[in-house]
Structure formats: structure tokens, C-alpha cells
Symmetry: C2
Amino acid sequence: MIGIFDSGVGGLTVARAIEQLLPDHSLTYYGDIAKTPYGPKSPETIIKYSIHNTEFLLDKGAELIVIACNSASSVATETLRKRFHVPILEVISPAAQRAIQTSKNGRIGVIGTRATIKSGVYEKKITAERPDCTIFQVACPLLVPLVEEDWLNKRETKMILRRYLHPLKNKQIDTLVLGCTHYPLLKNLIQARIGKKVNLIDSSIETAHYVKDFLIRNPSVISKSKDATHRYYASDSTEAAIQVAKRIFSRPVELIVI
Amino acid sequence: MIGIFDSGVGGLTVARAIEQLLPDHSLTYYGDIAKTPYGPKSPETIIKYSIHNTEFLLDKGAELIVIACNSASSVATETLRKRFHVPILEVISPAAQRAIQTSKNGRIGVIGTRATIKSGVYEKKITAERPDCTIFQVACPLLVPLVEEDWLNKRETKMILRRYLHPLKNKQIDTLVLGCTHYPLLKNLIQARIGKKVNLIDSSIETAHYVKDFLIRNPSVISKSKDATHRYYASDSTEAAIQVAKRIFSRPVELIVI
């Protein structure tokens, strides 16, 4: 069974993409809504929560863990890999890989939470493989609350996006990594503001492809199950979370609060 | 010793007001930055955290607990009073009292987090004493992230405030309760948008007066100490939190991370 965790419901964009690509696999999701958001918190705190979330998923029978949160992927992957003996996949490498393949001029933008941007992990991963690349990073801490408030079409959201994207506008980037699992919900707004010619990299979709490729290369990691089950656990339930989940799946989603 | 807890650093507005009114008292603050914000979370989760925070303060020797968070005051006060045998003071009653005394026309606005507004606690407390009052409530969930991002003077913050306050504009309110410990930092912006004639009730200041009055009436609650010490603990430390703390105290504040 594939175990997926996130700081809240944003990571459901990853779960949904995996379900669409791997419909025959069972999947258990854990959203840490009671402590959301992770993005503004310290690495130590994010690591502590990530260990707890992984233990929960292993208890439920996970044979593979997907960290569906850019903030947790940025700061906790190494610790989780040392501590647990199942494969730990994360959302940064797949998005970084796609950016490396996509960019022609080597000028790549990255937007994300404070934790993700401060870790510099996208820059490290991209320039390790393509030292010719120049990375322009912007932390966009207000985008997660705006998405969670369902303010997707509000004028203020568009203005805040314009302000965040402004430093990237004159950098001639041809590729922009959406380095937070909430941002795919703002894709159209971002595209309109950064320009049609800029390729947007959606870390959720890239991660789903990466998980699929990983399982093709390592088929024995996951034991076969007759019926694929999808369960979504959460450490809290709120109306806003239920709304965001519904928007991601285009249908109501049952969150099991534990 | 007075123990004060909050979901993060917003409650430092209460701590500072208490320190100014009661400079001879020792005070221990606990800000639950690792799980902030409480406002969008469920009552069950907020109660669980509030019990933990109170136990921490009692361990440190608190003889009186002040819940310096409107969300926690709204949903957790009753549970804490049943469970712990020290006086538990909160921020709602003092602000509600002041609103009752201040309003002439009985039309009172309340702004706060989702948890506070959904609980309806201000309305219950005010109309219990003054059934002639009509209460107009608006949840303003984005104000806490905006304050924590230090976006106090940004155009977007002013627009968002205008949008939140709009439903109150034609209600002829003469009094507006700032029902969240972060909102005093937006006082001038709120006053400018709601109108000069509307009295703003700052729950932080009202709570400090209430604590002072309580200790005059119940002097034996707090044991005398020779030197007043002020300690600020937090469950996490972030740059944004340190900045907000500094803004509230107009000086750097040492947060002890535990």
C-alpha cells in the first residue's frame, strides 16, 4: 500500500494524481490538519511531525511513503530515510527533474513556502545536474491561507500573486516550479500573471509520474491487493479543509479524523 | 506567578498590557508556535492544545492562568475550569463587558477568527447582560496570516480589511470588538475603514485591566515574589514570530524554545 502524508489537505493534489495514474493501487493518506501549516515553521518542528506521520502510515501498513508536502520534503527527507526502512519518495526531485528537462535558457523560477525556499533545496538539486542554470526563488507564504480560504477568484489574491511574481517578471525565466502542493489550484492565475510562454511545473503531477516509474522499476516494493482501497485520514477536520478536498477531487471526500 | 498562553505570539499583546499594569508580578508566557494558528481548527483540537499549554504553565509554577487567545478562550475555558483548580481568566468576558458599557445604541460588531465567531461566545455574553443589543459578527481568517507576515501597510491588507468590514458598514454599529489578539496591530487601519465614530474594543487591554481587578479582589491567589521575572516560552521559533514579538514590545524579546 502507498502511504502519503502532508501538512494538511494540499497534498491531496498529489494523492489524486497518483490515483489517476495508478488506479489499481491501495493508498492511505494522512493530512496533519491539526498542525497545519508546516511552511512557516522551523525545520526541527517539521521533522518531528514528519516522523510522527510516517509512523502512523507504517502502522497502517504502508510499504512506500510519499511526502506530499514541499516543506516536509525540503527539510525532513534525509532524516526519514535514515530512520525508516521503506522507500521514501518526495515531491522536490520529480519537479526539479522536470524543470531541468524543460528549461531551454537555464533560467528557472521557484515559488514555495518559507521553509521550502529557505532550504534552497530546488536550487541545489537543479544546479547539481545543470550547473549552467540560474535559479530565482520567491517565498509566497500567503498563498496557502488564500487557497485554504477559497479566495481563488478574489481581486486581492490576484494582486498578491502579482506582487509575489513581480521579482521574477524581468528575469527572463522560461520555467517556473510550483513548489507547494497548494499552488496547482492557482495555476491559471499564475500562468496569466507570469506570462503564457513560461512553463509551469506542477510538483503534484511530476511526483505521481515519479511514483509510477519507481514502482515499474521496483515492483516488489508493494504487495498486490485484490481491491484497491483509498483512505484519507486527518488529525483534524474543518469546513475549509473539507471544501479544499472537495475542490481537488471534484467530489466530496471522507476525511477520517484520528 | 501569572501564566499566560496563546496559540503563538499574538497573545504577547495581552502579556505586554499585563506587564505594564502589573509591573511587580512575575509572568510566564507560552506561545504554541509549533501548532499555530488555532483559529481555523476544530474546538476538539483547540481544547486538547489548551489543556497541554495549561499543564506546562502549572508545571512552571503558575498560580493563575490567562488564556490570551480568543479562539482558545471561546471553546476551551469551560473544560480548563473543570479540570484545573487555579483561576482561569480569559479574553472574551473583559472585552464583552467593555462593549456592554461602551455601546449607546446597542449595535455592536465583533470581528475574530473562524473558531471565535463560530462559537458565538461574544453574542451570548453580551446579550445575556444586555438583551437589547444586536451583535453583528464577521470572521476574518486572513488577518492573522497578514499580521504574521508583517503586511501591516500593504495595499492588499487594506483591501482585505475593507472587504471584511464591508458587511458592518451599514449596520450603524457604534462599537466594534477586536476579538483576536493579533488585531490590535491593525487598530489604525481598522479605525480608518470602519469610521472614527466607532469605538474599538481591544481585548488585550481590557483583559489586563480585568486581571488587575481580579488580583485586587483576590490578592492571596498570587504569592509575593521579590523580583518580578518575565519569561516567554514557545513550542517553536521562526523569524516571523520573532519579528511580531519585537513589534509588540518595541524591543527584541527572547523566546525560549522548548
